[in-house]
Symmetry: C2
Subunit: 381 residues, 2 copies
DNA sequence: CCAGTTTGCGAGAACGATCTCGCACTGGTG
DNA sequence: CACCAGTGCGAGATCGTTCTCGCAAACTGG
């Protein structure tokens, strides 16, 4: 990459010191410096600034003035080491963009944490279980007070067990982890998916396509893989149940499982559209797949919401703004983040609460990407 | 919000201890525990695990086995305090979604940092200068080794000066900060914008609309506000220069400055389209504005790339996938993040390097949202 | 066989905060 | 005047590491 570099000024290091005292420009002042300047001991200075213990009001004032003059800022590391609380939580997450989960939940977590005086150490696992293990370990070494984890697909959860061992609580978000006694904040993806199918059927759709993202699959397959991330699993089950309840025949259910690669998912969409009796609507398990539908449909000059219908999971600004608006199963992503922080902090303050799985409801936002086939029939007659 | 709660199991606390030693289940083992078990002193244990100093190979093995058996994990807090390095950098950023800057750059920074053994403490300022001040202060108290900051619009940079005081380096990203001697990684938004106008003009566009987001403006105005974020400022200048170079009359340049609110920006778009001689193309300074164009055009049954053209800044997956694809001024967001981390770590390792402003080039990705008016003219004739 | 070097290890001092303890001083009371 | 409670403050321990220093044992060579 070509880079244009502009040197603005060679740093001349003319820094305005907070006080006339230039003797120690290098190291930032400690509480000893404050104490010396105020003419008291370390202990008294600490009491004065921490407002605890027995101390004369006049001394407090003197110490505070000294601290102010020196520009004293406490070393949170030392403080944390002494009192055993870092006021920091670790976030182990999978940074993927299209689903607008990572960014929304991260913002919610960071903001909610700050509201309670906590900072967030963030790590990305890229859906790799080994990286996740290391990330958890590193965060624990950094002495975080608790962890929020989007668990990656894995069979081995030893590292999460070890996490408990340190006595520090963990909250799982977005995905369930069966057989693990942790609190999890998830969404009711089963009901959401079921509901979406019901909606489509009410608009006259009878041949349904399901485009399911599956990390464990290579390329594309019609065979349902044994392993699915819990969210995708639940969506799949919900779609299935919706179709079953409406009495849709198996031959009118077009299932495709495919890896999260543009090429694969676009091929999958194409294969759906090329079938003899193609589906009139495609349900996608995430936004990557939905974008593939948009792309392939666009290339074929098919109009979404007329020639082919679409429903996906997770709302986004573009889904609302484009024409036609995309009908989505919206999940309360910010609520997940906020709840996770609140419960984590509650668990930190008061450990030993019973674990539970909190399931937040989803909302179907009906826009125009699902055609009303009754209306179409009426129109064409 | 209604919540379905499912208590999975009341934690029965049957934790498998890493060793038969049950005497101290509460506190995680320290190096003293390891030393005791290995029958050596603290110092020797530290040497064995840290692989430094003079130590017998047999002792190393004994200590390592003890550490393994106890499940010893070093306390990074204590370590950091002793050696004065936390291996943590602070990220002060504005979490906004539509521009796909926050999430992409965050991922890049987190990943690049991890590559070098660093963790990232993240804070959100919501474009508020006072919050930014506090965030920087908190991060410095947490003893981060350096800071990466997306500076919020402000006149007061005292807190950034104070940051230097602690001797810890800062990297600015995304936005320039004039008059401040910091290294900044930004993009060539001027050239990018100029180039985009040139492209449009080459396709026959002569009446140009510019929709500029301006935080300091209330609602909508045609008056250019005195204060613009540097990125938006540069884009504005670039648009202006492109129009000037092509000899576009002032009366054919339709400028609108508006706050970052859907209502305002949609009103702004409407007012552009309602003019007597409306622009054939709208350049937007960010994706919020672009989505407003999509929405209003959709409501009016105008087709993007035919009835009205559109160019915006920052590429995204949806801009590539929808029909028509949106022509964008793509910025190397990941490169910004990576470079920022690299230079920050370099500055941490070897302080006193000259500051400079690094300007990364943008790329115009031409898709179909810009109509070829020559072709149109040809077609309609 | 002894002086000198090398080797392995432990005692103790940091890092910067908090917190317990007890000392000295004040002032009130019998 | 003696006693006691209360007040303000400082000495020192502590959190869990790392690192300097010096000591003793082992090894070397003349």
């Amino acid at each position: 990459m070509q880079v244009r570099r502009v040197t603005v000024r060679s740093r001349k290091c003319e820094v305005i010191l907070p006080d006339e005292d230039v003797t120690q420009a290098a190291h930032s002042p400690t509480i000893v410096d404050v104490a010396t300047r105020a003419g008291v001991s370390r202990a008294t200075a600490s009491r004065a600034l921490g407002h605890y213990g027995r101390i004369a009001p006049a001394t407090i004032k003197r110490v505070e003035q000294a601290a102010e003059a020196l520009g004293y800022r406490p070393n949170e590391l030392a403080r944390a080491m002494r009192i055993g609380i870092t006021k920091t939580i670790g976030l182990v997450i999978i940074t993927d963009f299209t689903n607008a989960f990572f960014d929304r939940v991260t913002k919610a977590i960071v903001d909610e944490a700050k509201l309670h005086g906590y900072q967030v150490l963030i790590t990305n696992t890229d859906e790799d279980s080994e990286i996740e293990r290391q990330a958890v370990e590193t965060l624990l070494e950094k002495q975080v007070d608790g962890l929020i984890v989007v668990p990656s697909l894995s069979k081995n959860y030893d590292h999460l067990g070890a996490a408990k061992l340190g006595g520090r609580p963990i909250m799982l978000i977005d995905r369930r982890l069966d057989n693990l006694p942790f609190t999890a904040i998830i969404t009711d993806d089963f009901a959401g998916a079921q509901n979406a199918v019901r909606h489509a059927i009410s608009l006259g759709h009878k041949r349904l396509g399901f485009l399911i993202s599956a990390a464990s699959v290579e390329n594309v397959t019609a065979q349902r893989p044994a392993e699915l991330v819990s969210t995708v699993f639940d969506r799949t089950e919900g779609f299935l149940r919706g179709a079953f309840d409406a009495g849709i025949k198996r031959s009118d259910q077009h299932w495709i499982f495919c890896e999260d690669e543009p090429k694969s998912s676009e091929a999958a969409v194409a294969s759906l559209l090329d079938r003899p009796n193609p589906p009139t609507i495609i349900f996608t398990s995430n936004n990557d797949m939905a974008l593939a539908v948009l792309k392939v449909a666009g290339n074929r000059r098919l109009t979404i919401g007329r020639d082919i219908s679409l429903v996906t999971v997770d709302d986004s600004q573009w889904a609302a703004a484009i024409v036609p608006g995309i009908t989505v199963i919206a999940r309360p992503v910010e609520e997940i983040g906020r709840l996770a922080v609140q419960r984590l902090l509650s668990e930190i303050a008061d450990p030993g609460q019973p674990t539970e799985i909190v399931v937040l409801p989803t909302t179907l936002i009906a826009r125009d990407s699902v055609a009303n086939l009754y209306l179409e029939g009426f129109r064409s007659s």
